[in-house]
Structure formats: C-alpha cells, structure tokens
C-alpha cells in the first residue's frame, strides 16, 4: 500500500469539495483502509468449490444454481452466498461410540453412552453400537427443506434402530439377527429420509459391537461355557465309545477266526483219523482174528510196563483183597476192565 499507488484515488476523490489540504490529509489516512476493503471485496468475490463438492448459490437469499467444482465468481458483500456441500463424499455417523478427529459435526453425539441401550422384543436389554454411511444427494433439499438435517438423521437412525431391535429377541440382536437388523434399519432409514425430504441417501447401516449390559455379561459367558462343556462331555463319551467298540469288533473277529480254525482242525483231524482207520481196517479184514489179538497184546505191552502194581492171580483163586495194599493207595481203581 504505497502512496504512489493511491495517487489516482486522490485525484478522483478531490472534487468532493473539502479544502485540498484537508482532503489530502484525510485520504492519506483513509487510502490504506479503502484499499484493504477493496481487496477484501475482490477476494470475497471468488470462491473455489472442491472436487468432491458442489456449491449452492443464493442471491439475496433466493436460490440461483448449483455450482460445479472449480473457481467461480460471485457478487460480494453478502449479495451472493455460496454454500459448499460435499456431495460426493461419503459421510458417517456413529452411534454408541465415537472416533476422534471427525470432520463431520454430525458424526458423533456428546453422549454416546445414552444411544446404545435398547430394549429387545423379549423385554431384555442390549447395548448396540452402529454406523450409518450416507451422502448428500439433493443439496437444495438438504439446505432448504429440513433444518439441521444431520441431527434429524441421527434421530431417525436411533428411532429406526430401536424399532428393528424392538421386534427381535435378545439372541437375534446379539448373534443370529445382525444382518437382518442392518438390512431392515437401512430400508426404514431410506424410507424416512425420503419422506422427510432431507436430501440425503443412506448407503449403509453397519452394526459394530453388540453386547449385553455389563451386569448380565457374565451369565451370557456362562451360556457359552456351558455350550463348550456340553460339547466336551459329548466328545468324552464319544471317545470312550470309540475306544471300546472297534476293539470289541476286532476281538469278535478274532474269536470267529479262531473258531473257524477249530472247525478246520476238527474236520481235518477226523478225516485223518478216518483215513488211518480205513487203512488199518482193510488189513484187519484180511485177517481179523490175528490182527485183533495182535493189537490187544501190543496194547497191553505198551500199558503194563508203566503200571507199578501188577497182580497176577490164578483163575481159581477166590479172594484177592488181602493181596492189595489198600493203605498206600486209597482211591484204588480196581482194573476189572483189563479182564475183558
């Protein structure tokens, strides 16, 4: 802001009619201020729209146009107002928890712990954390149809999530029904967003942590443990079964095979015996008496040498008892068989 550059202004302003000295002095002081003001005006008549956004331009409050990304001109001094909306960016709202460094002011609430408790359809309680992904789809509606669309979306989301959870059992909420809840909440939110003309489109509803309330947590864990225990008991019983039954099957086979061996042995032996018998029989039939007598004598010859007590009595002798030493051998088998 040098004096030289303000010279044309001096000439232009001087005909106003105050004495030249006075006006010179005044403008000498005023010039920098005027220049600064002009610079601000010039500066504020340009604006850039980032590539992920559009700007909504209002002139004297009236909607003019949606301005695409780029550098644009507007009438300064509050005549034109451009509101920049990140329409291509996916925005996120968190419920029941929060992550730091959020740029979207609607991303989390100050009291996330109040958002998560819910009552389920079997009158139990559960704590939910979830995320809603959305996009500004219609900038004019987003700006002009609803005041505070972000906060409205938060309320809608909480309401809808409780509606979905309220129709489900605690087990569905905690485990098996998660996807269903996400899908239902998404549909309900989309419907409400359309009905409220909020100018947003809901892309996704994701459930994060779902927990039973802290005092109940232990008993839920107990159920899991009991489930494991059940498996363990059954497995142990199966182990016992598997240890015993296949062994018994094997032993069964073993005994059957042994019996088969016995059968084979019996038959073979019988056949052997018979073969021998038949052979001898053939010879016997050729000379029966001699053979029989020979066999008899041979047999006695085999037996008798080993017998320690042998008594030979005369055929006319009547009592043989005195000859026997009964004290020595009490259970005395009197071999009457030998006398044929």
């Amino acid at each position: 802001m040098s004096k030289e550059s303000s010279a044309p202004l001096l000439k232009w302003r001087s005909p106003v009619g105050i004495s030249p000295v006075q006006s010179f002095l005044r403008l000498f002081h005023a010039a920098p201020i005027v220049l600064i003001l002009l610079a601000i005006v010039a500066w504020s008549s340009w604006y850039t729209v980032p590539s992920d956004s559009v700007a909504v331009l209002q002139r004297f409050g009236k909607y003019q146009a949606e301005i695409p990304p780029g550098l644009h001109f507007k009438i300064p001094l509050g005549v034109d107002v451009a509101t920049i909306l990140p329409v291509k960016r996916q925005l996120k709202q968190e419920f029941g928890f929060y992550t730091d460094n959020a740029t979207n002011p609607d991303q989390y609430s100050d009291t996330p712990e109040e958002e998560s408790p819910m009552v389920t359809g079997d009158l139990n309680a559960a704590l939910l954390e979830w995320v809603v992904q959305y996009r500004i789809s219609e900038p004019t509606k987003y700006l002009f149809a609803v005041r505070e669309p972000g906060q409205t979306l938060r309320d809608v989301s909480e309401s809808v999530m409780r509606e979905a959870v309220g129709d489900r059992t605690v087990d569905e909420v905690l485990t098996i029904g998660r996807q269903e809840i996400e899908a239902e909440a998404l549909i309900l939110m989309q419907q409400l967003a359309t009905r409220y003309e909020m100018g947003v489109s809901i892309d996704q509803v994701q459930l994060k942590n779902i927990n039973p309330p802290a005092p109940v947590q232990d008993s839920f864990n107990e159920v899991n443990q009991a489930q494991q225990e059940k498996e363990r008991l059954i497995n142990e019983a199966r182990r016992d079964y598997n240890r015993v039954i296949p062994l018994a099957e094997g032993e069964k086979d073993q005994r059957i095979r042994e019996a088969e061996g016995y059968r084979l042995k019996r038959i073979n032996e019988a056949e052997g015996d018979v073969a021998r018998f038949n052979a001898v029989l053939t010879e016997y039939q050729k000379a029966p008496e001699v053979t029989q007598r020979r066999l008899y004598i041979e047999t006695l010859q085999t037996i008798l040498p080993d017998v320690q007590n042998k008594v030979v009595v005369d055929e006319n002798m009547q009592g043989i008892l005195p000859l026997l030493n009964l004290n020595r051998q009490l259970p005395q088998p009197t071999s009457q068989e030998a006398s044929q």
């Binding site: 485990t175 016992d240 019996a259 088998p333």
Partner: protein, 327 residues
C-alpha cells in the same frame, strides 16, 4: 454546505439500505409496523422492499423443524417405569397465526414440550411396555438352532418361552399414531403442522433395570443349565449305546463261535460215523481199537492191575496149552 450534502447523502443511503431486505429460501417473513403485522407473509425468496424503520422484518423458518424432547420417566400400564425420549417433525404452515400466538420459536418449542409430553404420558400409561417396544405384530423370530433347540420346554418367568417375542395387540407405530393424532389437533391453532412423531429412546428406568438384569441372568442360567444337562444326557446316551453295542458284539461273537465250533464238531462226527458205520466189521473193529486206545490213557502208572491167569495175555503163564485149545 458540502458537509451537509454529504450527511444527507449518507442518510438517504442508509434509508435506502433499510428499505430493502432479503428473504432466504428457507424463510418466510412477516412485516410488522410498530408491532402490528402488515400485509401478507412473504414466502417467496429474494430481495424485497419495505418502509424503512417503520416496518420491522420478522423471519420465520419455512423448513421442517425438529422438536427433540428430553427423556422423561413415566409408568406404563404394567407399572414399569421407563424413560421415554421422543422426537417430532413440525413446520410452520400458518406464519401469521404462529407469529401472533407464539412470536418466537422458543415459546413454540416449549408449547410442543407441554402438549407432546402430556400426550406421550397418556399414551404410555394406556399401553403395556411391549406395545411401545415392538412394531410388527406377527413377526416370528429367528432361532439360534444350537441355542434353542428345545426352547419350547424352557419357559421364562412370564411363561413366555425364551427366544420368542412377547405378543402385542397394537405395536409401537400405532401408539405413535395415537400420540401424533392427539397432539396434531392441539398444535394446529398455533399455525403449526405436526408432521410426525417417533419414539427415539425407550429405556428401563434406573430403578427397574436391576430387576430386568436379574431376569436376564436367570434366563441365561436356565439356558446354561440346559446345555450342561443336555451334555450329560447325551454323554449318558452314548455310554449306553456303548454298553449295548459291546454286549451285542460280544454275544454275536459267542454265538458265531459256538456255531462254527459246533459245525466243526458235527462235521467231524459225521466223518467218523460214516467211516465206522460202513460195515458191521468196521463197527466192531472200531469198538476194539477205540477200547485199546482208551486203555492207554485209563491205565496209568499208579493203577493197580489185577490180572487173572485166564486172561488172554497170561493164560500161557500157567500152561502153554495145546494149539487146539487156543482161543
């Protein structure tokens, strides 16, 4: 003189500046003249003119507005204290009536507080908790196949089986509608249109919570207990199967073994019989040889054998005999 002109010009400029005002897209404007509304409300957005200084601009929002109630505790029909948090959408459709009755939004919101608060209390007191919690009347819940295979057998405290939903007659949406209808009528006179209301949060009151938790714990314990007894039962069944199968296998083995052995014995007997029975001579010879064999094992070392001299073997011990007398 110049100074005077300058002041006049400044005044004119100020007047002109004051004669214009803008109406935003989201706004409607009521002009007042010394506090009294003048003309129709301006609902079109853009640059407008008015009498400077004399007329004042009162901006009223045209958008859908939010009323977010603060959570308040109230009893349900089944005497459960719950904390209910509601929100409502509303907008100003008759700005003149609104302006005359309300002047500003703060008083409108507090009026909504009163009306919606009392209607909510009425509606909640008329319904049981479950009517506010649930929405879909005939929904059949998914059941965890592992967790609840015998769920019908296990009843909760209110004789509702664990894992099923408490039945309802109306449901959340209808209760919301009741509140909405009652309140919508009452706010109409303020130039306000109530668009809808929804329950945002319904929670157990702090005093009720421990009881609910106790019930949940006892329910879980039931389930856990059932798992354990199912485990023990199934294990016992498996062990029973084991004993049964073991007995079956062993007895089958016994039967089979005896059959086979019998078969062997029978076959052997048949073979012997066939051989020994082939002729009377064979039978006689068999009897003889078999007897001889038997002697070998019957007469042992410690037997006492008494032999008469008329036996075949010792008959020659007494006399040689004549060849004619043999036999």
């Amino acid at each position: 003189m110049n100074r005077f002109l300058l002041i006049v010009a400044a005044l004119v400029a100020y007047l002109l500046f004051n004669a214009f005002y803008t109406v935003g897209e989201a706004q409607q404007v009521i002009l007042t003249q010394f506090g009294k509304p003048v003309g129709e409300p301006k609902t079109e957005a853009g640059l407008k003119m008015k009498l400077p200084f004399i007329q004042t601009v009162n901006r009223i929002d045209k958008r859908v507005l939010e009323w977010d109630g603060s959570p308040s505790d109230m009893p349900t029909k089944d005497k459960l204290y719950i904390s209910v948090d509601l929100f409502a959408r509303w907008r100003i459709i008759d700005p003149m009536a609104y302006f005359l009755r309300m002047r500003d939004e703060r008083s409108a919101l507090s009026r909504l507080d009163d009306i919606l608060g009392s209607e909510t209390r009425n509606a909640v007191a008329k319904h049981e908790l479950i009517e506010i919690v649930r929405t879909t009347k005939d929904r059949i819940p998914l059941k965890d196949p592992i967790l609840l295979e015998n769920a019908e057998a296990t009843k909760g405290e209110d004789s509702t089986p664990i894992g099923s939903l408490v039945p309802i007659r109306k449901g959340r949406e209808q209760v919301e509608q009741e509140i909405f209808k009652a309140a919508a009528e009452k706010v109409k006179v303020f130039g306000i249109e109530l668009l809808d209301i929804r329950f945002k949060r319904i929670n157990y009151n702090d005093s009720v919570q421990p009881k609910i938790f106790e019930r949940m714990i006892s329910e879980r314990r039931q389930i856990a207990e059932r798992f354990r007894s199912e485990g023990n039962g199934e294990a016992a069944r498996i062990r029973g199967n084991m004993t049964r199968d073991l007995n079956r296998i062993q007895s089958e083995a016994y039967r089979k073994v005896e059959e086979i052995r019998g078969e062997g014995d029978a076959k052997a007997a048949e073979i012997y019989a066939n051989a020994y029975n082939q002729s009377p001579a064979a039978a006689k010879f068999y009897e003889f040889t078999r007897t001889m064999d038997a002697y070998k094992s019957i007469v042992t070392q410690d037997s006492t054998v008494v032999l008469s001299t008329d036996s075949d073997l010792f008959k020659y011990l007494k006399e040689a005999g004549s060849p004619s007398t043999t036999q």
